[in-house]
């Protein structure tokens, strides 16, 4: 990059549809983050999100929305942006993006002090589907999610009490894996609260995703766990590993729950 990019705010109108929504229009936090970030990246010369933070201010509904993007600084290795998704003039999702260039798949890390979760083969895992008495979940029409049966007892009413959910995820709509899709994947597993027997909606108030390298195609191994469920709030930490065994995304969110 030789010249400074113009620091002009960009405004984009869009229609939030229910393709990825749950039920009558509950929009998925990870998908909202991907949607806003993909628009924000158009205002920088840097191709990939490195770190993305969203605070979910209020639940957006289906229908028209506006995304405003303000470039904060266009540096040599990092572009910094803020973006807001608003409806009827009210902020719904506020996002900060630090963009750059991720290392290509296959490049050697300097240090890795973690290992991908060990999972039974995808065909030995439980395909995540909505029970017939619950509304459709749009995300399952785009992503195939196969849960490790050891962390999916709650689907049959047996609660493990470990607050950990692990499984395989891949796109079913033919879309190749890319860093943006990892934002949705980082928030795609069912909430760990189900394993604690805490039913109900777990609204995210904050979600940050760190992207670590360009993923290779194939099944992703994803594990999500909580450490503390306290005072109406819980953390959910999510790691995403690609089929080449690379840690491609690290996410953490703070979400609300209702104590039974």
């Amino acid at each position: 990059m030789t010249a400074a990019a113009p620091m002009q705010p960009a405004v984009r109108q869009l229609e939030l549809d229910d393709a990825w929504a749950y039920g009558a229009g509950v929009l998925h936090g990870g998908w909202l983050l991907e949607t806003v970030t993909s628009i924000a990246l158009e205002s920088t010369g840097h191709p990939h999100p490195l770190a993305v933070s969203a605070h979910f201010v209020a639940a957006p509904g289906l229908g028209p929305a506006v995304v405003e993007v303000e470039p904060l600084r266009e540096g040599r290795t990092v572009g910094s942006l803020r973006a807001r998704l608003a409806q009827d003039g009210r902020p719904k999702v506020e996002v900060l993006v630090s963009a750059g260039t991720l290392p290509p798949a296959g490049s050697a890390p300097f240090l890795v002090d973690a290992a991908p979760p060990s999972l039974p083969a995808p065909e030995a895992c439980l395909r995540h589907e909505m029970p017939a008495d619950l509304p459709r979940n749009g995300i399952l029409e785009h992503l195939e999610i196969r849960l490790d049966p050891a962390t999916a007892g709650w689907t049959a009413g047996a609660f493990g009490g470990s607050a950990e959910v692990a499984g395989w995820i891949r796109p079913t709509d033919g879309r190749p894996l890319d860093p943006l899709l990892l934002l949705t994947v980082s928030d795609a597993l069912p909430p760990v609260t189900f394993d604690l027997g805490i039913a109900g909606w777990v609204p995210t108030i904050e979600l940050t995703v760190l992207l670590r390298c360009v993923p290779v195609d194939g099944w992703l191994r994803v594990v999500q766990r909580a450490r503390s469920v306290h005072g109406g709030w819980l953390d959910e930490e999510c790691e995403v590993w690609d089929s080449a065994g690379q840690l491609v995304a690290q996410a953490r969110q703070l979400a609300g729950y209702k104590q039974p």
């Binding site: 770190a51 605070h55 506020e94 900060l96 300097f110 904050e206 450490r227 703070l254």
Partner: protein, 252 residues
């Protein structure tokens, strides 16, 4: 839109630059109110390196709900944005957690066996915030300070305010960015600038020493993640933080 000016207290500075955690605390404080007195989740993206002097803090309240007040905060100097911060504020509980994963607080030797980290480091650089934050590192994770890095990518120790006061949630924000970088234990002694830092404050800290551990998972292509966990003297997890920071390998 509200806000104010922060006169940067140079006694906190590191190698002549304002400390990120100190600036963050000063800015987040302005996003709190009586009904939402504590930061619950704070996400900061550091945009450019601040200088000494005065910083302008601009606070935009995005929504004031019953449980959560959401704000966007900008720290600027002149025309330059230094940091952009999102704050979800509410009220923290001092009660026992409903459920925990059983993750035990980090094990440390007794505090009297952990020497205080001085505000002048082994390289002669002044780390002023160690006059305000009393850090007693586990000697086993501080061998790099005497030229013997262990290659563990983990640093741990006891922490409290140097003036002996109990830690408030705003102090905990500072503590979440106060450990020496884990890269020191890998023998990388260069500067580790934070690009992004998110802190979840999970509860009010009980009085007494806090246990702090910071570790990295992946160093790759110039970026590393550092996770910081803080427990209070009652054994409760009071903060979880993660940052993405830059590192440099020595010239081959």
């Amino acid at each position: 839109m509200s806000g104010g000016e922060v006169a940067i207290d140079e006694s906190w500075s590191v190698g002549g630059k304002p400390h990120g955690g100190y600036l963050l605390r000063s800015a987040v404080e302005l996003a709190l109110d009586e009904a939402h007195p504590h930061p619950l989740a704070v996400s900061a993206h550091y945009v450019s390196s601040p200088d000494h002097g005065v910083a302008a803090v601009e606070v935009e309240r995005l929504r004031t709900g019953r449980r959560v007040a959401s704000s966007r905060v900008r720290i600027g100097q002149g025309d330059a944005v230094r940091a952009e911060v999102l704050v979800s504020a509410g009220t923290l509980s001092a009660a026992d957690p409903y459920w925990t994963s059983g993750l035990a607080p980090v094990e440390l030797p007794p505090v009297e066996d952990c020497p205080r980290t001085p505000s002048v480091g082994p390289t002669g650089m002044r780390v002023g915030y160690f006059d305000h934050v009393d850090l007693r590192m586990d000697p086993a994770s501080a061998q790099w300070a005497v030229g013997r890095p262990q290659g563990r990518a983990e640093v741990r120790g006891w922490m409290r305010r140097a003036d002996g006061a109990d830690a408030s949630p705003l102090d905990v924000l500072v503590f979440a960015d106060a450990m020496p970088p884990v890269t020191f234990d890998l023998g990388l002694l260069g500067w580790v600038p934070t690009l992004e830092l998110t802190v979840h404050v999970r509860g009010l800290a009980a009085p007494g020493w806090l246990r702090v551990v910071q570790r990295a998972t992946v160093l790759r292509d110039g970026w590393l993640d550092e996770e910081c966990l803080i427990w209070d003297s009652a054994g409760h997890l009071v903060a979880q933080a993660r940052q993405l920071a830059g590192y440099r390998l020595p010239e081959a």
